[in-house]
Subunit: 493 residues, 2 copies
């Protein structure tokens, strides 16, 4: 006994813990995995925040609870959570369930490693490199660098930091006061993380210059060139162009080859935010959408979106293989990255990150890929495009579905125009009335639990739905159901 | 059939996937959970990188592999990974296994939510708030704000960004060129993420002023005050002091009350990096180490370290409850944060983050807390202190163990002086010889697989071990084993 603590035995019993894990696993399988993918179950069991808080009894107390009570808690958490793997969940840019990936995620959690040194994560250091290099080869690079980040927003932030470092390495030491006002260029349709990154990096939102897009949401390279010239003439120093391959809302693909030309002309870092659209690179039929991506300096690509690797999975990929990533981020902490280790210390990749502890994000994607093969992943991508094609055709057959734009990708943006509004397009108050349709249909579907799909106002357009269907578990029946359900929920509006 | 894709049925069979999950779970239980915590198994099965790469056959191919092969792969990943839950893993600031937390992690993965809106993560939005508010109440705050971040480094980065925003909100829009050169103050012993954050934020490493520490590694508040005055007199504008509660290597606690006085005097944001030492707040006996933490503006606290919540779990906590966090980070994306939702949109907390998709990090901690109770967690913390006390006493009894400093916390920093070097302390080449001891012992233990403990050179001190014992599964036998094993591996050096 030391300081009143008995050290003769452990504080708790591993056997009890293992029994809990076994029982919890059954609940997870039944409530989250099986019911979560079962089309006859609800997508969500909607409760108001106040009500739900009360039902869940979330408060943390002095003493612990028993086995049965804790299992019930797991059950309740699953019951009241939204089933993002459900065949009728279309609300985000992720959906569906890949069981192999999920097994990889369980294994990742059980091993609880941190991805910084070979010493502590030997398998994952090697595995991350193989996965990154496979992704790079799909981009068309046979060498390069990269790292998994906690999400595409952080991958985009990395791009901005790397671009700045290549242009002005002194910023790392001396800060932005050592350099002139910098300028970033990206389209008006870019993901908001480009702006957030500019704020965090001290570059400032105002120095992110929005480039014009055409009616499909595609960046106009001539305007890019003009904006760059303008910024220069106003004394700013351009350093980064961030193109988007698969924009968040419209699913637009910027013309990478032309943008690469502009970047070449002005000697700017060329980043491609392919967080969403990168997966099209797996499809021989559709990869032309990203033609020119091999000319980029860096790419962000989220396998947790279309490929269903599970959150979080985002690769930041670079063409550079001279060590820029590590130079930009390294702090050379001696307690992790000792220089007198008995193995090749180039395997201690953690100093490439702005994180210290870093979750292992590669295993789930690796295991899924081993199970499905590159060709299997290609099938999934092609299937997502086919869903979209089918839905577009069906919408054109039915009355009341109006496309916002012909889809380039798998974002299907449309208004549902209820019978009462049809033929009233030009009339006064039409836009105002139309803008109320999507929120009302959404509220109804969520309260019913029949499906979930997102809507938003965007630029000058009032609320429209953005339908995204990617899960390979989905069948034509689910697509027909979607259209029927929108009609049935919105018919009386 | 659309574009050659048949949509009549799903692409793959859920039943097959579920069967794989069931089988993989057994492997995870046996190879990672049970063997991973079994003291008769190796901590690691060391292989050289080249050899391991070959053995694992990591390459990703066109076609998928069969059920048995994939299970074998799960087995191999577990086999060659380091067992961070093993009773002889002392290599990092995390260790051990909490089975309830692990169940929460499995459930998190199965539900695959993103923590941004109430609509898509109703349970987790409410749960995160309860967990954060419980942590805040331990700090001594009865209101405030906060968010889970992907690691303590990012939490520290948040602190710096928030401090800057409060002092100069215009930076968000206009960048750092709009303000004078800023200055950050932190001790020489701080975690390297403070420096990394300064680089990323464009503040620059040079503008992080290292404050002197005493011989235990504790910040000297008088020097802090002096440094601030100096920086001001050189035209810099101080905005942030980052104190450390539980430094990474020595486990030192900065004197928060005195630092708070200095911050008050100069009106600076007072951040406490309690990523490591925050958990001492759970102990009535030891929380005095953080006296004054309630006077901080923000705190970083990692439950994935001492509390064993599993990577990643890091809370960024703020005293402010006026909405500063959201104002600083928000981008108001309409596609996520629509303003015409049918529920109270203050529950859509995602715009407080610099991420977009954000992994759910609260469930595992919540479930563990429900299972263990606050008092159970306190026991764990007290136990970790008791391990350290016991080890210190034992080291003093044995010859050859020399403390670098009397531990304030549970970092036990020591040199092992092999018999050949004892009594040679002042002699020429002594430091050089001593510096080779830890790396050699480390190499031997890793190749044998008997245990893992970290070492580093630090400031003017040559390589010493940093022993950190926190897992509640550990018994006195493991502690004695540690000391015996160091002796047996190092005796002949
Ligand atoms: C084009 C694009 N880039 C980046 C992101 C951000 O990815 P994450 O949510 O992983 O941060 C998104 C998210 O939807 C996106 O659509
Ligand atoms: C004092 C301190 N702060 C911050 C961190 C960073 O935490 P993380 O590894 O979660 O980024 C550490 C990590 O060891 C630490 O010791």
């Amino acid at each position: 006994t030391v300081d009143g603590v008995t050290l003769n035995g452990p504080l708790s019993d591993n056997r009890d813990g293992e029994r809990f894990l076994e029982d919890a696993f059954q609940i997870i399988m039944n409530e989250a995995v099986k019911k979560g993918t079962d089309v006859t179950e609800k997508v969500c069991d909607w409760k108001e925040p106040g009500k739900l808080r009360e039902m869940l009894d979330l408060e943390l107390r002095e003493t612990g609870e028993n086995h049965e009570r804790l299992l019930q808690r797991c059950h309740d958490v699953a019951k009241y959570s939204v089933k993002t793997s459900h065949p009728r969940f279309f609300n985000q840019l992720f959906a569906g369930l890949d069981h192999h990936s999920l097994a990889g995620r369980f294994l990742t959690e059980a091993l609880n490693s941190s991805q910084y040194t070979y010493e502590v994560a030997p398998v994952f250091v090697l595995m991350e490199e193989v996965v990154l290099s496979t992704l790079r080869s799909l981009i068309g690079w046979d060498s390069g660098d990269g790292i998994f980040c906690p999400g595409g927003s952080i991958s985009n932030l990395y791009a901005m930091n790397l671009a700045r470092y290549r242009a002005f390495p002194e910023v790392k030491q001396r800060g932005l006061w050592a350099v002139p006002r910098l300028a970033v260029f990206t389209s008006k349709e870019c993901h908001y993380s480009v702006g957030k990154s500019a704020s965090v990096l001290g570059v400032g939102l105002q120095n992110v210059h929005p480039v014009k897009v055409d009616e499909r949401g595609v960046m106009i390279p001539e305007d890019l060139d003009e904006q760059i010239e303008n910024a220069k003439s106003q004394g700013s120093v351009p350093f980064l162009v961030s193109a988007t391959s698969g924009t968040t809302i419209l699913g637009a693909f910027d013309p990478l080859d032309k943008i690469a030309d502009v970047c070449g002309k002005h000697k700017l870092w060329f980043h491609v935010d392919a967080a969403w659209g990168g997966s099209a690179l797996l499809s021989k039929k559709h990869k032309h959408l990203l033609k020119g991506i091999d000319r980029a300096d860096s790419v962000a690509w989220n396998p947790h979106k279309m490929l269903m690797a599970g959150l979080q999975s985002s690769a930041f990929l670079m063409k550079d293989s001279s060590g820029l990533l590590k130079q930009c981020h390294s702090a050379n902490a001696t307690y992790l990255f000792q220089q007198d280790k008995f193995y090749d210390m180039s395997y201690d990749t953690g100093d490439k990150s702005i994180q210290c502890g870093r979750k292992v994000d590669c295993l789930k994607l690796w295991l899924m890929w081993k199970a499905t093969g590159t060709l299997g992943l290609e099938q999934r991508v092609d299937r997502a495009f086919a869903y979209t094609r089918y839905l577009v055709e069906e919408m054109k057959k039915r009355g009341g579905f109006q496309l916002v734009v012909e889809p380039q990708f798998v974002n299907l943006c449309f208004w549902y125009v209820p019978p009462s509004l049809r033929g009233e397009e030009g009339s006064e108050g039409y836009q105002e009335k139309l803008s109320k349709v999507a929120p009302t249909i959404k509220e109804r579907m969520v309260k019913k639990g029949s499906m979930m799909v997102g809507y938003q106002p965007h630029q000058d357009k009032v609320n429209f739905f953005r339908l995204v269907v990617i899960s390979p578990q989905i069948t034509r029946a689910d697509l027909d159901f979607f259209l029927d359900e929108i009609e049935s929920l919105g018919r009386d509006l």
